[in-house]
Structure formats: C-alpha cells, structure tokens
C-alpha cells in the first residue's frame, strides 16, 4: 500500500501529469533529488527545453 501514490492518483486523476508526478516521486525515493531532477530534465527535453546546466 503506497498512500502517497494513491493520493497522487486521486488528486491528479488519470492523466499524463499523474504519470509524470508518480515517476518523479518514485525517482526521488530511489535516487534522491538528482534522480528526480533527471526525470524533470527528460520531461522538459520533450518540449525542446534544456535545463541540464
């Protein structure tokens, strides 16, 4: 039972944003800020935005 993920699904509904937030939280839990930031960087790259530096 992962209450936070369940709450994310409840608040964000079934959406791309919900998937992204889930990915973000999971990455943070597994690899801290750096891993979560990598998820954000990847998300932004899809919009042609590079914030790596």
């Amino acid at each position: 039972m992962d209450i936070i993920i369940e709450e994310v699904r409840k608040v964000f509904g079934q959406s791309d944003l919900q998937k992204f937030v889930e990915k973000l939280i999971t990455a943070y839990r597994q690899g801290g800020a750096t891993a979560a930031r990598a998820v954000v960087v990847e998300y932004l790259r899809e919009f042609g935005i590079n914030v790596e530096n």
Partner: protein, 785 residues
C-alpha cells in the same frame, strides 16, 4: 524476522583491512566523533542495499565508500531468523564494479537474482530502512524540541511524506527558477535578434548565418595554411633575390612596368582580330541604308568613322534604333491587324444584313408587282378613290334621271290609258299623238339610262376594289422600297469596306516584310556581340601596343644586365608578397566576420521561430509545474490524513507498551485544519486531554518512537532490528533517562544497535539492561574492540 549475527568489513570507509564484529541482542557502539560508529552502521545498510542514504542522494559516490588507501572493499553480513541463515557479501572496486553473493538455505544467488532474493526475504527497501529502521537524532530532536511546523516535518519524514516537500523544494522550485531565467534569456535573445536583424538578413536567415560560421572556420584554416606556405616561399625567394637587390632597386620602375606588361599580355591570351567588328558593323550599315527614312542621317557617317569610340557608340545607337523601329513596327502591325479585323467583321455584318434584306425583298416582290400593275390603271389609291367618287356622282345623276323618267312614264302612261284630253295637273290640253310620241321617246331614253346606271354601278365597284387593294398593298410597297433602298446603300458601303480590307492586307504584308528584315538583323546581332566585338577590337589594339612595349622593355633590361633568371625571381617574390598580403587581409576580414557571427550566435542562439516556440514551451511547462506544486500540497494533506487514521490505533498501543508509567492512558494524533500540522494529544487516567506542549521531553520522545514503530509495523518488514545512530546528542539527563527506560521496553521487541559519543549515556544504558559494548577508536583507521 531477521536479526544481525555478525558483520565483516574490509576496507570500508574508515576501516582499513579486515574487521569482524559479532552482535548481541542489544549492541552499544561508543566512540568519539569520527571514530567510525556511523561507518559500521552504514556497512549494514550497504550490505543490505548496495548503497546508503548519502550515495542515494548523490552526496557521495558509491566508490567513496572504499577506504581511501584501498582499491576495493568487502562487506559480509550474516543475519538469522530462527534456524534460517542469510549471508550477504558485497565486493566493490574503484572502477565501480560490484560483486554480490547472497546465500540462503545453502543456495547461492548472484547479481539481480541476489537483489530480488534479498527484497523478497527482508521486505524492506532503502526508503523504509532510512525512515523506520535507521533512526537518527534528526528524526527525534525535531519531534521533541521543534515547533509545530518542525514536528510536522519530522512526522512527515517518518511517514515518508517529506518526499513531496523534497520534490517541491529540491526539484521543482529550482527547475522553475531555471525556467523563469530561461524565459528571460529567450526574451533577451529575441530582442537581440531584432538588434542583429540586418546582419542576419545578409545571410538570408539565422540558419544561413550559422552555416556561414561553420564554413568560415574551415576557410580561415585553409587560408592560414596558404599563408604559411606563402611565407615559406617568400622567405626562399627573398634569399635568392638579395644578391641582385642593388640592380633591382636601380631598375625598379622598368621592372615594375615590365611585370605589368607581361602579366597583362599573359592575361590577354590569344591574339585578337577585328573581323567580328567588321561583320557586325556591315550588318548594321545595311539596315540603316535600307531604312534610311527611319534613322538619323548622321548615323551612317559615324558608322564609317575611323574612330573606334565613335563607331562603337554609333553601332549601339543603330542597334537601339533598330530595336525601337522593330517595336514600332510591331505596334503598327498590331494596329493594322486590329483594323483588318474591324473591317472584316464589318464586311461580315454588312453581308449578313444585305442577305436579310434581300430575303425581305423576295417576300415582298409579289405585292410590289401587283401594286405596279394597279398603278398602270391608277397612279395611286387616292387617284382610284377620286375616280370612284366621280363615277358615284355620275351614277347618282343618272339614277335621278331614271327616277324622273320612271315618274314621267307613269304619268304619260296614265294619261294615255285614261284617254283624258286635259292635263290633270295643270289643266292644259293633251295631244294623244304627241303623248304617244313622248312615251316612245321616253321608253327609248329610259332603256339607255338604265343601261348606263348598270354600267356605272359596275365601274364604281371595280374602281373601289382597285382602291382598296392598292391601300392594302401600300405598307408592303413602302417596306419593299425601303429595303431596296437600304440594300443599295449597304452595297455601296460594302464596296468601301472591301477597299479598306485590301489596303490593310497590303499594309500588313509590307510591315511583315520590314519586321522580318529587322528580326533577321536582331537575331544575327545583339548588344553583347557589339560590345564584345568592340571590346575584342580594343583589346587587339591594346595587345599590339603591349607587345611592342614588352619588346622595348626586354631590350632595356638586357642592356642593364638584368638576366631573365633575376627577373623571374624578382617577379615571383613580388607575386608571392602580393598574394601573402591578400591572404593576410582576407584572413583579417574573415576573423572580423567570425567575431561578429560568433557574437550574434552567442547573443541570439536560434531562429526567432525556434526561440518563440521554446519560450512558449518554457512558459507552458512553468505553468504545469505550478499546477503540480499546488496539487502536490493537496496530495500531502490527503496522505497525512490517511496515514494518521491508519496509524492511530497502533500508535496508542505501542506508546503504552514502551511508556509504562501509568500517568498517560492513551495518545492520539490529529491534523490541524488550518495549517495541516499534526497535533498530538495525551490522555490522563482522569480523561484529561493534553496537547504536546504540556508533555515532558521524555513523553515526547516516547511519542516519536511509538509513531516510528507503529509505522514500521505497518510497513511489515522482516527486519528484527532497530538502529539508533546518536539519537539524543544534546539532551539533558532526564531525557536520556527516559530514553533508557524506553529502550529497556524496546529490547523486548527488537535487536537494538545504539551508537553514541556520550559515555554517560552508554553507561546509563549498560546499567539498565544487558548489552554488548563495542568501543570504536581511530588512529590511522577505525578499530573495534
């Protein structure tokens, strides 16, 4: 439930060489700051997960766990659960290559299989381990001493909700700041694009500019190679030239002219003849002669001039005049064609109209002929009417005469038949003989008059019929005559039109002939040919002049004693010098251009379309992140509320288990509506409810630990141990004492590991419960005793 039996460390962090530690139920680790207590506890985490918190949060790399003087490390952890034994061994070298072997029930697992086996057996991940197994002073202090907000953060940490704050504050907020800064940068770049618009336009587009920038570097590199080669050549030639320098300087003017002439001759190439000029000129002359009325009379004279410039100008003027004339003829032809078409159309129209009228005439012909026949009797209907009127008048007179004669005859017959000798009307005497005579005469006359009446009646009917018929035919006759007149008029007009058409045809043929002639000339000669012919002729003249001068200069140099070898070397030296200067100048120009373009690329960095698109995306994602942040706050509140409800019962039970003084009979936790902070309450045996501010530090400590243990039980891990790493470093003795009492109770539930630098605290613990003490010290490396 797995407890730790032993651990072996080899070159792990501050531990150099191999160290083996066998653990008991309660294990106390004591040593000064930096001695290696935490490293020993980290080794347990590393053995379980292949990393630990600092590595996970990228504060340190996993290879940093290797002792600084070693190339590889090894950690072997042995756990047991009843009779089951679990051995975990991890080896790591400086290159980051790790070897993992997990042995359980005599079966060995490696790599991924080994990780999966561990997770399956222990049912714990790094996150739960760091929150609920490995408890440090950070967790407890915030709870005991912090404000409501700090306590909430501590509880969030225990609940694992802190991940939301961390995602917001450590990931989203900095990225959003970057996005705003990125947007500002993009706006500035768009403004810079306007600033450099004129420069960019020279290269068609920003992409064109970038492409030029790339080619510029290659071009500069090639030119620099060429510059080096030219410098070497120049140096070599200068060495050869120096021995003749005096002579060269003395005759420098002659030499320079010689070189100039020579180069010009070389560039001129083959010898030129003026035959082209003659041909072109003659063609133009023939046109001027043929169309003399159209040209300026002086042109012919100028074409025959001996001055090349005059001829050249005249040729161009003739050519222009021919072109103009051809254009005029073209216009005239168009006009004539228009006229020809106009008259042709008119002719067609006239023919059509004449044909229509002739059809009308054909239809009216019969009526007209009949009218003409009647006209032979009477010139017009009016004349017939007049004759009819005269005849009617005569008929009336004759009819009156008939009436009189009839009356008279009646009277005479009466008198004759009555035998009376007197007139009954006037009383005069009557002569029968005379009366009979009159009767006879009257009878004769009556018969004639009756015949005349009949004749006149017949005549009147006939004339009236003629008049009626003529009147009926009058309209057709008028139409016939009108049509006939119109036909005659149209035929006359048609004759004129035919004449015009013939004239136009003739004019068109003439214009076509003239045009054809001019076209032939224009096809044969054009301005470029004239210019080339003149230019060739001029070059031929120049060439002859150069050849003459070249021979003169050769003789002069020979007389001066300057050999052809010296001339060649000097010429090559000058040429190399000139080329070098040109190349150097070109390189300078290109560097200047390069600097400008690099500046544009640095300050603009993209086409306006791509910059605008990126700016839109930046603002779009910024707004998305803002939305995520606000929704994550809702997630946090929702998660707090659910976790509070889920842990409430267990929290109370565990608290009463570890806090056995009887002055608190229950505890509860709630969420403050407005701030969303956790509110902890204790309930006294009398049912009184106290907020956390009314509780002692020891009671608060018990609350914190009870909450952690409640969550840990909910997480249902298979670990039977609990680690306190320096749980209360700066607290008073009373709190420590409370903690010691709590630990006594905890020891009944868990295998305990407790690390502290406080000897007093460690001694308090040792006095209260049986525990194994490990003293950690450090000289060159950490040691355990």
């Amino acid at each position: 439930m797995w407890k730790i039996d032993r651990i072996e460390l080899e070159n792990f962090r501050s531990y150099r060489g191999r160290h083996e530690v066998v653990f008991d139920r309660v294990n106390l680790l004591w040593g000064r700051v930096g001695a290696g207590k935490t490293s020993l506890l980290y080794a347990i985490e590393y053995a379980l997960f292949g990393k630990q918190l600092e590595v996970r949060e990228k504060v340190a790399k996993v290879v940093d766990l290797i002792n600084s003087e070693a190339h590889e490390m090894r950690v072997a952890l042995q756990l047991s659960s009843g009779s089951d034994v679990l051995k975990i061994e991890r080896q790591l070298n400086k290159r980051g290559t790790e070897r993992l072997v997990v042995t359980v029930g005599g079966v060995e697992y490696k790599k991924r299989e080994a990780e999966e086996t561990l997770l399956q057996l222990l049912e714990v991940d790094e996150d739960i381990y760091d929150r609920l197994v490995y408890i440090s002073h950070r967790t407890l202090e915030g709870f005991i001493y912090g404000t409501s907000h700090k306590r909430t953060l501590s509880v969030d940490r225990l609940f694992g909700i802190d991940v939301i704050d961390n995602v917001i504050s450590r990931v989203l907020t900095p990225v959003m700041k970057q996005l705003l800064s990125h947007a500002e940068d993009l706006r500035s770049r768009l403004a810079n694009y306007e600033k450099y618009r004129d420069i960019i336009r020279k290269y068609d587009s920003y992409e064109g500019l970038v492409s030029r920038l790339e080619s510029l570097s290659r071009e500069i590199s090639e030119l620099k190679e060429r510059e080096s080669q030219l410098s070497r050549d120049l140096e070599e030639l200068a060495k050869r030239r120096i021995s003749h320098i005096d002579k060269i300087r003395e005759y420098e003017a002659v030499l320079l002219e010689y070189y100039r002439v020579k180069i010009e001759l070389e560039l001129a190439g083959a010898d030129y003849v003026d035959s082209d000029l003659g041909k072109v000129k003659n063609s133009l002359k023939s046109v001027v002669e043929e169309f003399e009325h159209f040209f300026d009379p002086s042109l012919l004279e100028r074409l025959n001039s001996s001055d090349l410039d005059t001829v050249s100008i005249a040729m161009v003027e003739v050519y222009d005049a021919i072109e103009k004339l051809a254009g005029d003829l073209e216009l005239q032809e168009l006009e004539m064609e228009r006229m020809y078409k106009h008259y042709s159309d008119k002719l067609n129209k006239l023919d059509s109209e004449i044909a229509d009228l002739e059809n009308v005439l054909k239809k009216l012909e019969k009526s007209y002929s009949r009218f003409r026949e009647l006209q032979k009797l009477y010139p017009s209907a009016a004349a017939a009417r007049l004759r009819a009127s005269e005849l009617k008048k005569r008929l009336q007179e004759v009819e009156r005469e008939v009436a009189f004669s009839t009356s008279l005859k009646t009277v005479l017959t009466y008198l004759a038949e009555s035998g009376s000798d007197k007139c009954p009307i006037c009383g005069g005497s009557l002569d029968m003989e005379q009366l009979s005579h009159h009767l006879r005469e009257l009878g004769e006359k009556f018969g004639k008059v009756i015949a005349e009446v009949e004749t006149l009646r017949e005549e009147v009917r006939s004339v009236e019929n003629i008049a009626e018929e003529m009147e009926a035919l009058q309209n057709d006759v008028a139409a016939y005559l009108s049509a006939r007149g119109r036909v005659e008029q149209l035929k006359a007009e048609r004759g004129e039109v035919v004449k015009k058409i013939l004239q136009a045809e003739k004019a068109l043929r003439q214009l076509e002939r003239k045009k054809s002639r001019l076209r032939e000339i224009l096809e044969r000669v054009d301005k470029r040919q004239i210019s080339e012919a003149v230019s060739k002729y001029r070059r031929a003249l120049r060439l002859r002049e150069l050849q003459r001068r070249y021979r003169e200069l050769e003789i002069e140099l020979k007389k001066a004693g300057i050999s052809s070898d010296v001339v060649t070397v000097d010429m090559q030296w000058r040429s190399a010098l000139e080329n070098l200067e040109k190349v150097s100048k070109r390189i300078t120009d290109l560097y200047r251009e390069l600097a400008t373009l690099e500046n544009v690329v640095r300050e603009v960095g993209g086409s306006p379309e791509s910059l605008r698109k990126t700016l839109e995306n930046v603002m779009y994602t910024y707004e998305k992140f803002q939305l995520i942040k606000s929704k994550l706050e809702l997630v946090k509140v929702g998660a707090r509320s659910r976790l509070v409800r889920a842990t409430e019962r267990l929290f109370g039970e565990i608290f009463l288990d570890i806090y056995r003084y009887g002055d608190i009979t229950n505890v509860s936790v709630d969420l403050e509506q407005k701030s969303g902070h956790y509110q902890f309450y204790a309930i006294s045996p009398t049912g009184e409810k106290f907020g956390i501010s009314k509780l002692s530090d020891g009671q608060r400590l018990s609350l914190a630990v009870a909450l952690a243990l409640a969550l840990r039980m909910m997480a249902a891990t298979k670990l039977a141990f609990l680690i306190f790493d320096e749980p209360l470093p700066y607290v008073d003795r009373e709190v420590k004492s409370a903690f010691v009492n709590m630990v006594k109770n905890l020891a009944e539930r868990y295998q305990l590991f407790l690390a502290s630098q406080s000897r007093e605290f460690i001694d308090m613990l040792r006095e209260s419960l049986p525990a194994k003490l490990f003293t950690i010290s450090k000289r060159e490396s950490s040691e355990i005793s």
